[in-house]
Subunit: 80 residues, 2 copies
């Protein structure tokens, strides 16, 4: 079963990496880039076929390791 | 117009960050995590309403700055 996890910085938290990328885009002439937010994208191959179990385990992985829930949000999709 | 950009490491390229996260998951007891690949996820607010123009500009941004096309793939979605 394949999982895709998205970890994003919460809306009210500063994103210095996004600000830096926006600055770099502007200096390259891409002035239409008004706001840039950067997150993480993870593909995880899970050795289970039980969807409910996979969801519970993924939630635990996100809470414990993949996301810092103080400043980040996460969501995931399961397929297969 | 809002763009979402996904940058992933090409399939045949080593992903040390993914390997490290997989090791950390295993040491936390998540032995079902068989393969982990890590990429970047970007949300970009574009100051344009022309979809074709936005696509062309995003492609240029990815090629020039957001992705290293030697070792990374990218794809993007546009909405609004």
């Amino acid at each position: 079963m394949k999982a895709t996890v998205y970890v994003t910085i919460k809306q009210n938290v500063l994103d210095p990496q996004g600000t830096a990328v926006q600055g770099a885009l502007h200096s390259l002439g891409f002035n239409e880039a008004k706001k840039v937010r950067i997150g993480k994208y993870m593909e995880i191959e899970l050795d289970t076929n039980d969807r409910n179990e996979a969801e519970a385990r993924l939630k635990a992985m996100c809470e414990k390791l993949l996301a810092n829930t103080v400043v980040e949000d996460y969501r995931f999709e399961l397929e297969g």
